[in-house]
Symmetry: C2
Subunit: 214 residues, 2 copies
Protein backbone atom coordinates (compact mmCIF):
# COMPACT_ATOMS: atom_id res chain seq x y z
CA UNK A 1 0.00 0.00 0.00
CA UNK A 2 1.01 3.61 -0.54
CA UNK A 3 0.00 6.42 1.81
CA UNK A 4 -0.14 9.87 0.20
CA UNK A 5 0.01 12.32 3.09
CA UNK A 6 1.62 15.36 4.67
CA UNK A 7 3.35 15.38 8.04
CA UNK A 8 1.32 18.26 9.55
CA UNK A 9 -2.11 17.44 8.08
CA UNK A 10 -4.49 16.41 10.87
CA UNK A 11 -6.37 13.93 8.68
CA UNK A 12 -3.05 12.37 7.60
CA UNK A 13 -1.98 12.21 11.26
CA UNK A 14 -5.17 10.40 12.32
CA UNK A 15 -4.84 7.87 9.51
CA UNK A 16 -1.18 7.20 10.44
CA UNK A 17 -2.26 6.46 14.02
CA UNK A 18 -4.97 4.05 12.84
CA UNK A 19 -2.53 2.29 10.48
CA UNK A 20 0.04 1.98 13.28
CA UNK A 21 -2.56 0.58 15.70
CA UNK A 22 -3.44 -2.04 13.06
CA UNK A 23 0.25 -2.89 12.58
CA UNK A 24 0.29 -1.72 8.95
CA UNK A 25 3.19 0.19 7.39
CA UNK A 26 2.37 1.46 3.87
CA UNK A 27 4.97 3.24 1.77
CA UNK A 28 5.09 6.93 2.83
CA UNK A 29 4.60 9.36 -0.04
CA UNK A 30 4.81 13.01 0.99
CA UNK A 31 2.48 15.54 -0.67
CA UNK A 32 3.85 18.96 0.22
CA UNK A 33 0.86 21.21 0.92
CA UNK A 34 3.22 24.19 1.41
CA UNK A 35 4.18 24.11 -2.27
CA UNK A 36 0.59 23.15 -3.24
CA UNK A 37 1.68 19.77 -4.60
CA UNK A 38 -1.87 18.56 -3.84
CA UNK A 39 -3.27 20.95 -6.47
CA UNK A 40 -1.01 19.69 -9.26
CA UNK A 41 -2.04 17.19 -11.92
CA UNK A 42 0.08 14.34 -10.57
CA UNK A 43 -1.87 14.21 -7.33
CA UNK A 44 -5.20 15.07 -8.93
CA UNK A 45 -4.82 11.83 -10.90
CA UNK A 46 -4.65 9.99 -7.57
CA UNK A 47 -7.44 11.91 -5.79
CA UNK A 48 -9.82 14.14 -7.78
CA UNK A 49 -10.68 15.98 -4.54
CA UNK A 50 -7.01 17.05 -4.26
CA UNK A 51 -6.89 16.58 -0.51
CA UNK A 52 -4.66 14.31 1.58
CA UNK A 53 -4.65 11.58 2.72
CA UNK A 54 -5.20 8.95 0.03
CA UNK A 55 -4.39 5.26 0.45
CA UNK A 56 -3.54 3.32 -2.70
CA UNK A 57 -4.09 -0.41 -2.31
CA UNK A 58 -1.82 -3.02 -3.86
CA UNK A 59 -4.33 -3.64 -6.68
CA UNK A 60 -4.31 0.08 -7.54
CA UNK A 61 -7.66 0.88 -5.91
CA UNK A 62 -7.57 4.34 -4.34
CA UNK A 63 -9.30 5.09 -1.04
CA UNK A 64 -9.88 8.72 -0.03
CA UNK A 65 -11.40 10.58 2.95
CA UNK A 66 -9.86 9.55 6.27
CA UNK A 67 -13.22 8.63 7.93
CA UNK A 68 -13.96 6.22 5.06
CA UNK A 69 -10.41 4.81 5.04
CA UNK A 70 -10.43 4.25 8.80
CA UNK A 71 -13.77 2.37 8.63
CA UNK A 72 -12.27 0.31 5.79
CA UNK A 73 -9.25 -0.48 7.98
CA UNK A 74 -11.60 -1.63 10.74
CA UNK A 75 -13.43 -3.93 8.30
CA UNK A 76 -10.38 -5.36 6.49
CA UNK A 77 -8.07 -5.50 9.51
CA UNK A 78 -10.40 -6.00 12.49
CA UNK A 79 -7.67 -6.68 15.06
CA UNK A 80 -7.04 -4.91 17.33
CA UNK A 81 -10.55 -3.40 17.15
CA UNK A 82 -10.86 0.40 17.18
CA UNK A 83 -14.61 0.23 17.80
CA UNK A 84 -16.21 -1.48 20.81
CA UNK A 85 -18.81 -4.25 20.59
CA UNK A 86 -22.46 -3.19 20.55
CA UNK A 87 -24.10 -0.62 18.26
CA UNK A 88 -24.82 1.95 21.01
CA UNK A 89 -21.23 1.88 22.30
CA UNK A 90 -19.98 2.17 18.74
CA UNK A 91 -22.26 5.15 18.17
CA UNK A 92 -20.78 6.90 21.21
CA UNK A 93 -17.21 6.36 19.97
CA UNK A 94 -18.11 7.45 16.45
CA UNK A 95 -19.84 10.56 17.84
CA UNK A 96 -16.68 11.62 19.70
CA UNK A 97 -14.71 11.07 16.49
CA UNK A 98 -17.25 13.04 14.44
CA UNK A 99 -17.10 16.05 16.77
CA UNK A 100 -13.45 16.34 15.72
CA UNK A 101 -13.84 15.03 12.19
CA UNK A 102 -16.84 17.16 11.21
CA UNK A 103 -17.14 20.07 13.62
CA UNK A 104 -13.56 21.05 14.46
CA UNK A 105 -10.98 19.95 11.94
CA UNK A 106 -12.58 20.90 8.58
CA UNK A 107 -13.26 24.45 9.75
CA UNK A 108 -9.60 24.97 10.65
CA UNK A 109 -8.28 23.28 7.55
CA UNK A 110 -5.55 24.92 5.49
CA UNK A 111 -7.80 25.94 2.58
CA UNK A 112 -10.24 27.67 4.96
CA UNK A 113 -7.49 29.59 6.73
CA UNK A 114 -5.96 30.64 3.40
CA UNK A 115 -9.37 32.01 2.37
CA UNK A 116 -9.69 33.91 5.65
CA UNK A 117 -6.25 35.44 5.10
CA UNK A 118 -6.83 36.38 1.46
CA UNK A 119 -10.50 37.44 1.51
CA UNK A 120 -10.84 38.90 4.99
CA UNK A 121 -7.26 39.98 5.66
CA UNK A 122 -6.90 37.79 8.75
CA UNK A 123 -3.51 37.95 10.46
CA UNK A 124 -2.02 35.19 12.64
CA UNK A 125 -3.85 36.42 15.75
CA UNK A 126 -7.20 36.38 13.95
CA UNK A 127 -6.48 32.91 12.57
CA UNK A 128 -5.62 31.62 16.04
CA UNK A 129 -8.82 33.16 17.43
CA UNK A 130 -10.91 31.55 14.65
CA UNK A 131 -9.37 28.12 15.25
CA UNK A 132 -9.60 28.56 19.02
CA UNK A 133 -13.35 29.22 18.77
CA UNK A 134 -14.15 25.92 17.03
CA UNK A 135 -11.61 23.87 18.96
CA UNK A 136 -13.00 25.18 22.25
CA UNK A 137 -16.63 24.51 21.31
CA UNK A 138 -15.80 20.95 20.27
CA UNK A 139 -13.47 20.23 23.20
CA UNK A 140 -16.09 21.54 25.67
CA UNK A 141 -18.53 18.98 24.27
CA UNK A 142 -15.99 16.15 24.30
CA UNK A 143 -14.90 16.99 27.87
CA UNK A 144 -18.57 16.89 28.99
CA UNK A 145 -19.13 13.54 27.27
CA UNK A 146 -15.95 12.06 28.80
CA UNK A 147 -16.98 13.32 32.26
CA UNK A 148 -20.42 11.71 31.89
CA UNK A 149 -18.96 8.29 31.03
CA UNK A 150 -18.48 6.62 34.41
CA UNK A 151 -17.15 3.39 32.88
CA UNK A 152 -14.26 5.16 31.16
CA UNK A 153 -10.62 4.10 31.64
CA UNK A 154 -7.50 5.93 30.45
CA UNK A 155 -8.80 6.57 26.94
CA UNK A 156 -11.85 8.25 25.41
CA UNK A 157 -13.86 5.05 25.72
CA UNK A 158 -12.89 2.14 27.95
CA UNK A 159 -9.34 1.02 28.62
CA UNK A 160 -7.89 0.80 25.10
CA UNK A 161 -7.58 3.19 22.17
CA UNK A 162 -10.56 3.58 19.86
CA UNK A 163 -11.48 5.69 16.85
CA UNK A 164 -12.22 8.53 19.28
CA UNK A 165 -8.57 8.70 20.40
CA UNK A 166 -7.37 8.34 16.82
CA UNK A 167 -9.28 11.55 15.97
CA UNK A 168 -8.68 13.43 19.23
CA UNK A 169 -4.89 13.27 19.48
CA UNK A 170 -4.15 15.07 16.17
CA UNK A 171 -6.70 17.72 17.13
CA UNK A 172 -4.88 18.29 20.46
CA UNK A 173 -1.63 18.63 18.50
CA UNK A 174 -3.32 21.19 16.25
CA UNK A 175 -4.73 23.07 19.27
CA UNK A 176 -1.20 23.46 20.63
CA UNK A 177 -0.03 24.82 17.29
CA UNK A 178 -2.79 27.45 17.32
CA UNK A 179 -1.88 28.50 20.85
CA UNK A 180 -5.00 27.14 22.57
CA UNK A 181 -4.61 26.72 26.36
CA UNK A 182 -5.44 23.05 27.01
CA UNK A 183 -5.68 23.36 30.82
CA UNK A 184 -9.43 23.96 30.47
CA UNK A 185 -9.91 20.31 29.44
CA UNK A 186 -8.16 18.05 32.00
CA UNK A 187 -9.82 14.83 30.80
CA UNK A 188 -8.83 15.46 27.18
CA UNK A 189 -5.30 16.30 28.33
CA UNK A 190 -5.11 13.04 30.33
CA UNK A 191 -6.29 11.00 27.32
CA UNK A 192 -3.70 12.74 25.16
CA UNK A 193 -0.95 11.85 27.65
CA UNK A 194 -2.09 8.20 27.83
CA UNK A 195 -1.98 7.98 24.04
CA UNK A 196 1.42 9.66 23.78
CA UNK A 197 2.88 6.79 25.82
CA UNK A 198 1.91 4.29 23.11
CA UNK A 199 4.33 3.80 20.17
CA UNK A 200 1.44 3.71 17.64
CA UNK A 201 0.59 7.29 18.57
CA UNK A 202 4.13 8.55 19.20
CA UNK A 203 5.42 7.21 15.88
CA UNK A 204 2.57 8.90 13.98
CA UNK A 205 3.38 12.38 15.31
CA UNK A 206 4.06 15.05 12.67
CA UNK A 207 7.60 15.75 13.93
CA UNK A 208 8.59 12.12 13.38
CA UNK A 209 7.62 11.96 9.69
CA UNK A 210 10.19 11.95 6.89
CA UNK A 211 8.87 15.21 5.39
CA UNK A 212 8.97 17.12 8.71
CA UNK A 213 11.60 19.87 8.99
CA UNK A 214 14.76 18.65 10.75
CA UNK B 1 -37.61 7.08 19.73
CA UNK B 2 -37.51 10.86 19.71
CA UNK B 3 -35.80 12.88 17.01
CA UNK B 4 -34.65 16.34 18.09
CA UNK B 5 -34.12 18.26 14.88
CA UNK B 6 -34.83 21.38 12.82
CA UNK B 7 -36.55 21.40 9.46
CA UNK B 8 -33.81 23.31 7.59
CA UNK B 9 -30.73 21.77 9.24
CA UNK B 10 -28.80 19.70 6.70
CA UNK B 11 -27.68 17.14 9.27
CA UNK B 12 -31.29 16.77 10.48
CA UNK B 13 -32.44 16.40 6.87
CA UNK B 14 -29.94 13.63 6.14
CA UNK B 15 -30.93 11.73 9.28
CA UNK B 16 -34.62 12.01 8.39
CA UNK B 17 -33.89 10.47 4.99
CA UNK B 18 -31.97 7.58 6.57
CA UNK B 19 -34.76 6.97 9.11
CA UNK B 20 -37.37 6.99 6.32
CA UNK B 21 -35.33 4.57 4.20
CA UNK B 22 -35.20 2.23 7.21
CA UNK B 23 -38.95 2.56 7.71
CA UNK B 24 -38.60 4.20 11.15
CA UNK B 25 -40.79 7.09 12.33
CA UNK B 26 -39.56 8.55 15.64
CA UNK B 27 -41.49 11.33 17.40
CA UNK B 28 -40.55 14.68 15.82
CA UNK B 29 -39.33 17.27 18.31
CA UNK B 30 -38.48 20.62 16.74
CA UNK B 31 -35.49 22.59 18.06
CA UNK B 32 -35.81 26.08 16.63
CA UNK B 33 -32.33 27.25 15.68
CA UNK B 34 -33.71 30.69 14.70
CA UNK B 35 -34.59 31.43 18.35
CA UNK B 36 -31.42 29.63 19.54
CA UNK B 37 -33.41 26.93 21.34
CA UNK B 38 -30.38 24.67 20.85
CA UNK B 39 -28.30 26.90 23.13
CA UNK B 40 -30.76 26.78 26.03
CA UNK B 41 -30.43 24.50 29.05
CA UNK B 42 -33.33 22.20 28.08
CA UNK B 43 -31.56 21.05 24.92
CA UNK B 44 -28.08 21.14 26.48
CA UNK B 45 -29.35 18.48 28.90
CA UNK B 46 -30.10 16.30 25.86
CA UNK B 47 -26.92 17.05 23.88
CA UNK B 48 -23.97 18.78 25.57
CA UNK B 49 -22.68 19.79 22.12
CA UNK B 50 -25.87 21.81 21.59
CA UNK B 51 -26.21 20.85 17.95
CA UNK B 52 -29.04 19.03 16.19
CA UNK B 53 -29.87 16.29 15.45
CA UNK B 54 -30.06 14.03 18.50
CA UNK B 55 -31.90 10.72 18.61
CA UNK B 56 -33.21 9.59 22.00
CA UNK B 57 -33.77 5.85 22.17
CA UNK B 58 -36.66 4.26 24.05
CA UNK B 59 -34.39 3.38 26.98
CA UNK B 60 -33.31 7.02 27.28
CA UNK B 61 -29.90 6.56 25.63
CA UNK B 62 -29.02 9.64 23.57
CA UNK B 63 -27.22 9.35 20.23
CA UNK B 64 -25.64 12.48 18.72
CA UNK B 65 -23.71 13.36 15.54
CA UNK B 66 -25.55 12.33 12.37
CA UNK B 67 -22.64 10.25 10.93
CA UNK B 68 -22.57 8.19 14.14
CA UNK B 69 -26.37 7.88 14.30
CA UNK B 70 -26.59 6.79 10.66
CA UNK B 71 -23.93 4.08 11.17
CA UNK B 72 -25.91 2.97 14.26
CA UNK B 73 -29.06 2.77 12.12
CA UNK B 74 -27.21 0.59 9.63
CA UNK B 75 -26.06 -1.73 12.42
CA UNK B 76 -29.37 -1.96 14.33
CA UNK B 77 -31.69 -1.85 11.32
CA UNK B 78 -29.67 -3.44 8.50
CA UNK B 79 -32.53 -3.67 5.98
CA UNK B 80 -32.66 -2.15 3.48
CA UNK B 81 -28.87 -1.70 3.52
CA UNK B 82 -27.46 1.80 2.96
CA UNK B 83 -23.95 0.45 2.43
CA UNK B 84 -22.98 -2.07 -0.27
CA UNK B 85 -21.28 -5.40 0.41
CA UNK B 86 -17.49 -5.45 0.39
CA UNK B 87 -15.13 -3.16 2.30
CA UNK B 88 -13.75 -1.34 -0.77
CA UNK B 89 -17.24 -0.54 -2.13
CA UNK B 90 -18.29 0.60 1.33
CA UNK B 91 -15.21 2.85 1.52
CA UNK B 92 -16.20 4.48 -1.78
CA UNK B 93 -19.74 5.19 -0.55
CA UNK B 94 -18.48 6.48 2.79
CA UNK B 95 -15.96 8.72 0.99
CA UNK B 96 -18.72 10.35 -1.08
CA UNK B 97 -20.69 10.87 2.14
CA UNK B 98 -17.65 12.31 3.93
CA UNK B 99 -16.98 14.85 1.17
CA UNK B 100 -20.37 16.32 2.09
CA UNK B 101 -20.28 15.52 5.80
CA UNK B 102 -16.77 16.81 6.51
CA UNK B 103 -15.71 19.11 3.69
CA UNK B 104 -18.87 20.94 2.64
CA UNK B 105 -21.62 21.02 5.24
CA UNK B 106 -19.73 21.96 8.45
CA UNK B 107 -18.07 24.94 6.79
CA UNK B 108 -21.43 26.36 5.73
CA UNK B 109 -23.12 25.59 9.02
CA UNK B 110 -25.23 28.24 10.75
CA UNK B 111 -22.71 28.99 13.53
CA UNK B 112 -19.93 29.56 10.99
CA UNK B 113 -22.05 31.91 8.87
CA UNK B 114 -23.13 33.83 11.99
CA UNK B 115 -19.45 34.31 12.87
CA UNK B 116 -18.67 35.52 9.36
CA UNK B 117 -21.51 38.05 9.59
CA UNK B 118 -20.59 39.31 13.06
CA UNK B 119 -16.78 39.24 12.94
CA UNK B 120 -16.10 40.01 9.29
CA UNK B 121 -19.24 41.96 8.39
CA UNK B 122 -20.27 39.54 5.65
CA UNK B 123 -23.52 40.41 3.86
CA UNK B 124 -25.79 37.90 2.09
CA UNK B 125 -23.75 38.08 -1.12
CA UNK B 126 -20.50 37.35 0.74
CA UNK B 127 -22.17 34.48 2.61
CA UNK B 128 -23.44 32.99 -0.65
CA UNK B 129 -19.96 33.32 -2.17
CA UNK B 130 -18.37 31.60 0.86
CA UNK B 131 -20.85 28.71 0.72
CA UNK B 132 -20.58 28.50 -3.06
CA UNK B 133 -16.81 28.09 -2.83
CA UNK B 134 -16.95 24.99 -0.61
CA UNK B 135 -20.03 23.50 -2.26
CA UNK B 136 -18.39 23.85 -5.69
CA UNK B 137 -15.09 22.31 -4.56
CA UNK B 138 -16.88 19.33 -3.04
CA UNK B 139 -19.38 18.89 -5.87
CA UNK B 140 -16.56 19.02 -8.46
CA UNK B 141 -14.92 16.11 -6.63
CA UNK B 142 -18.18 14.16 -6.30
CA UNK B 143 -19.05 14.74 -9.98
CA UNK B 144 -15.60 13.42 -10.99
CA UNK B 145 -15.98 10.35 -8.79
CA UNK B 146 -19.49 9.64 -10.16
CA UNK B 147 -18.21 10.02 -13.74
CA UNK B 148 -15.39 7.56 -13.06
CA UNK B 149 -17.76 4.87 -11.74
CA UNK B 150 -18.76 2.94 -14.86
CA UNK B 151 -20.93 0.48 -12.89
CA UNK B 152 -23.15 3.24 -11.52
CA UNK B 153 -26.95 3.22 -11.92
CA UNK B 154 -29.37 6.03 -11.08
CA UNK B 155 -27.87 6.78 -7.67
CA UNK B 156 -24.43 7.73 -6.33
CA UNK B 157 -23.44 4.06 -6.13
CA UNK B 158 -25.25 1.27 -7.93
CA UNK B 159 -29.00 1.14 -8.50
CA UNK B 160 -30.38 1.84 -5.03
CA UNK B 161 -29.93 4.63 -2.48
CA UNK B 162 -26.91 4.48 -0.18
CA UNK B 163 -25.33 6.65 2.51
CA UNK B 164 -23.87 8.77 -0.30
CA UNK B 165 -27.33 9.83 -1.52
CA UNK B 166 -28.51 10.37 2.06
CA UNK B 167 -25.74 12.98 2.45
CA UNK B 168 -25.83 14.43 -1.05
CA UNK B 169 -29.53 15.34 -1.37
CA UNK B 170 -29.65 17.75 1.63
CA UNK B 171 -26.47 19.39 0.35
CA UNK B 172 -28.08 19.95 -3.06
CA UNK B 173 -31.06 21.50 -1.25
CA UNK B 174 -28.67 23.77 0.63
CA UNK B 175 -26.83 24.68 -2.59
CA UNK B 176 -30.12 25.88 -4.09
CA UNK B 177 -30.77 27.98 -1.00
CA UNK B 178 -27.37 29.66 -1.37
CA UNK B 179 -28.02 30.41 -5.04
CA UNK B 180 -25.47 27.97 -6.47
CA UNK B 181 -26.04 27.13 -10.16
CA UNK B 182 -26.32 23.33 -10.24
CA UNK B 183 -26.11 22.98 -14.04
CA UNK B 184 -22.33 22.53 -13.71
CA UNK B 185 -22.91 19.08 -12.15
CA UNK B 186 -25.27 17.07 -14.37
CA UNK B 187 -24.59 13.73 -12.67
CA UNK B 188 -25.28 15.14 -9.21
CA UNK B 189 -28.45 16.78 -10.54
CA UNK B 190 -29.61 13.47 -12.04
CA UNK B 191 -29.01 11.64 -8.75
CA UNK B 192 -30.94 14.36 -6.92
CA UNK B 193 -33.87 13.93 -9.32
CA UNK B 194 -33.84 10.13 -8.94
CA UNK B 195 -33.92 10.51 -5.15
CA UNK B 196 -36.70 13.12 -5.22
CA UNK B 197 -38.95 10.51 -6.86
CA UNK B 198 -38.71 8.27 -3.79
CA UNK B 199 -41.10 8.94 -0.86
CA UNK B 200 -38.30 8.39 1.71
CA UNK B 201 -36.47 11.41 0.28
CA UNK B 202 -39.52 13.52 -0.60
CA UNK B 203 -41.06 13.13 2.86
CA UNK B 204 -37.79 14.19 4.56
CA UNK B 205 -37.58 17.51 2.71
CA UNK B 206 -37.41 20.63 4.91
CA UNK B 207 -40.63 22.14 3.49
CA UNK B 208 -42.61 19.05 4.53
CA UNK B 209 -41.67 19.15 8.22
CA UNK B 210 -44.08 20.31 10.95
CA UNK B 211 -41.82 23.24 11.98
CA UNK B 212 -41.44 24.58 8.42
CA UNK B 213 -43.17 27.90 7.66
CA UNK B 214 -46.60 27.41 6.05
Amino acid sequence: MKLYNFFRSGTSHRLRIALNLKGLAPEYIAVDLRTEAHLQDAFKAVNPQQLVPALVLDDGDVLIQSPAIIEWLEERHPNPPLLPAGPEARAKVRALAAIVGCDIHPINNRRILETLRKQFGCDDAAINAWCGTWISAGFDAIEALLAADTARGDFCFGGAPTLADVYLVPQVESARRFGVDLSRWPLISAVDAACAALPAFADAAPARQPDAPR
